[in-house]
Subunit: 355 residues, 2 copies
């Protein structure tokens, strides 16, 4: 299976490493022999129609900060969308930096892929939140697939799980913790009695928060993920502007400690339901509620009419975690291309983690 | 889609109600128009090749305790396996009472279904724990499917979630709370300081524990579910005898209270890993660990090499819950029969819970 990899940051590199680490299992269990024919980062393109040596590409990236330079492939000065169109490949892995305002360059990359009949696997939230239905329409029109497990929950399959829950049941509401950085900060304030600013500094030192943490602590990252989740699972036809957003910036230490004394906890909860619409806000929850998790994790509760509430908990971000979602999506696409028989076979055979 | 329903107890009746309640959505969203052509319970068979009136069948069951009597269909005195073979249908829903020693009558019912080229959807743990690989071999040999989401976790898709987690990652271990009754008892002992026997009586009154609660409190129900889970997700090739089982019978109230004081909790944990093999035993866990849930719920943690640990929490039993798993399996089978294109289409379209 021939892949084009747009974006070679933390996630893109983790994906390349995962392909190498899982090489034998992918071939034996799923009959998948991936071949990366193009890698793009800010330095330009590295392409090789016979398959890029991923070890070399990773080394070049580490040594020079750019993949296009001296990695044995040939640099391509042309427009990324033209390269994506022209490369002979089945799937585009879109992992460029996300943009919540324009969705670019991810949106144009995906559009170019669809128009050249390539499936798209992405963890890029911006384009999905801004143009969720347009992207699906483009994919369907061109007879290819769009998958984006990694866009919500990192390695935790929030979207796939919600889809599973909604089969044969009625999903009536979704709420949860979609931003690990905020949860890390709130947990620190709670456990160590820190004021907000100190907890935020701790999150930066621990590598959870960006130099500019606005998107996290002002709730927009959660809002974007909520839009994608609600559109995917509740057909909400929503955009970011439809979400009532309140972040945790300047959260009072008193409030957090008071909640703790009352056997409760403050968490940044993103919620989608018919009654309340889409909201993101700091919320009091019972300490022993399954959603009340600590640290840089995500937790999502799905309210099902017949089978009751269900919660999933896991890491919400991280390179290897998100890369595993990209790979899972790739395997789903392969399963569907090869038809149900083989899908089931590989499903049954799968010795992954064989005990 | 023509269905045969073997077993018309709590789960079987809930399944019939769910089919009626979801009728419109199943047709509109999945193009599924189920037709139950046979229902079996201890009173015999009710069959109707034109489709049984489920309302009548449920009324007959409520009024007479048996479905075969005066429900407008014709009674069939013949052997269940012959009826299953001869009925013209695509799928057997096997929901008869489970038997951990012989697996009967469920095993014979499934065998008869496979030999007459019928898919099987079941929540019957016994046959799966005793003959997991034999049943899969029979299904594969006859070119039909065997699905059993409802066998572990009731309405909580433990097995499907584990399979999702293992795609593109390596599942290295599984541990969790697989018996809601025991968790209810332990929670009661913890919260109200009750001795074991009083907590058990409470569980009986609340309808969580059977008159003979041995299978629950001695850990065998957990062990059986662990075997199915480990075989399905870790290819453990295990049987019940491979599980080291210790239940919670006679659990000391002191021990439970001591754990509580130490910020921990005693829970009946079923665990499967390469190192420790398969075990079921009361275990001390941190109170703020995601697995530490209260009440009659299930919680399972999946250890993934690349994406870290993931936890799923939900109701572990109950009629409507388990029925929703049977229906989900039925939709999965339909999706695979109709091929990936339609599978994806219905997947995309699915307005279930549409917000």
């Amino acid at each position: 299976m021939r892949l084009v990899l747009a974006g070679f940051g933390v996630v893109g590199q983790s994906f390349a490493r995962l392909l190498m680490a899982q090489e034998k299992e992918l071939a034996a269990t799923y009959g998948l022999v991936p071949q990366v024919v193009g890698i793009m980062d800010s330095s330009g393109w590295l392409t090789d129609e016979h398959g890029i040596d991923l070890k070399k590409a990773l080394r070049a990236k580490a040594e020079t900060g750019g993949v296009a330079s001296k990695a044995g492939g040939k640099e391509v000065p042309r427009r990324p969308t033209d390269v994506i169109r022209d490369l002979e490949a089945e799937v585009l892995i879109e992992a460029t930096p996300t943009n919540f305002k324009t969705g670019e360059p991810g949106f144009s990359h995906m559009k170019a892929a669809f128009e050249s009949k390539k499936h798209v696997v992405t963890c890029n939230k911006g384009p999905l939140a801004i143009a969720y239905y347009a992207l699906h329409e483009l994919a369907r029109h061109n007879g290819v697939q769009l998958r984006f497990s990694g866009a919500v929950g990192g390695g935790t399959p929030v979207l796939d799980f919600g889809k599973t829950c909604s089969m044969g049941d009625k999903l009536t509401g979704i709420r949860g913790i979609l931003n690990g950085t905020c949860n890390y900060i709130l947990t620190k304030m709670e456990g160590e009695g820190l004021p907000f600013d100190d907890a935020l500094d701790g999150a930066k030192k621990a590598g959870y928060a960006e130099a500019d943490p606005s998107l996290d602590i002002d709730g927009y990252d959660s809002a974007v993920k909520l839009v994608i989740t609600a559109n995917h699972l509740l057909l909400s036809k929503a955009g970011i502007k439809d979400v009532k957003v309140k972040g945790i910036r300047g959260m009072s230490a008193k409030e957090v400690q008071k909640a703790k004394k009352d056997g409760k906890a403050v968490r940044l909860i993103a919620s989608a339901s018919r009654e309340t619409g889409l909201t993101v806000a700091p919320t009091l929850i019972e300490r022993d509620h399954p959603l009340c998790i600590n640290g840089a994790n995500n937790a999502v509760e799905f309210e099902c009419e017949y089978s009751g509430p269900k919660v999933i908990i896991g890491k919400g971000a991280g390179g290897p975690e998100t890369a595993s979602s990209l790979l899972r999506d790739l395997l789903e696409i392969r399963g569907r291309i090869n038809g149900p028989a083989e899908a089931i076979a590989s499903y049954r055979m799968s010795g992954v983690g064989g005990g």
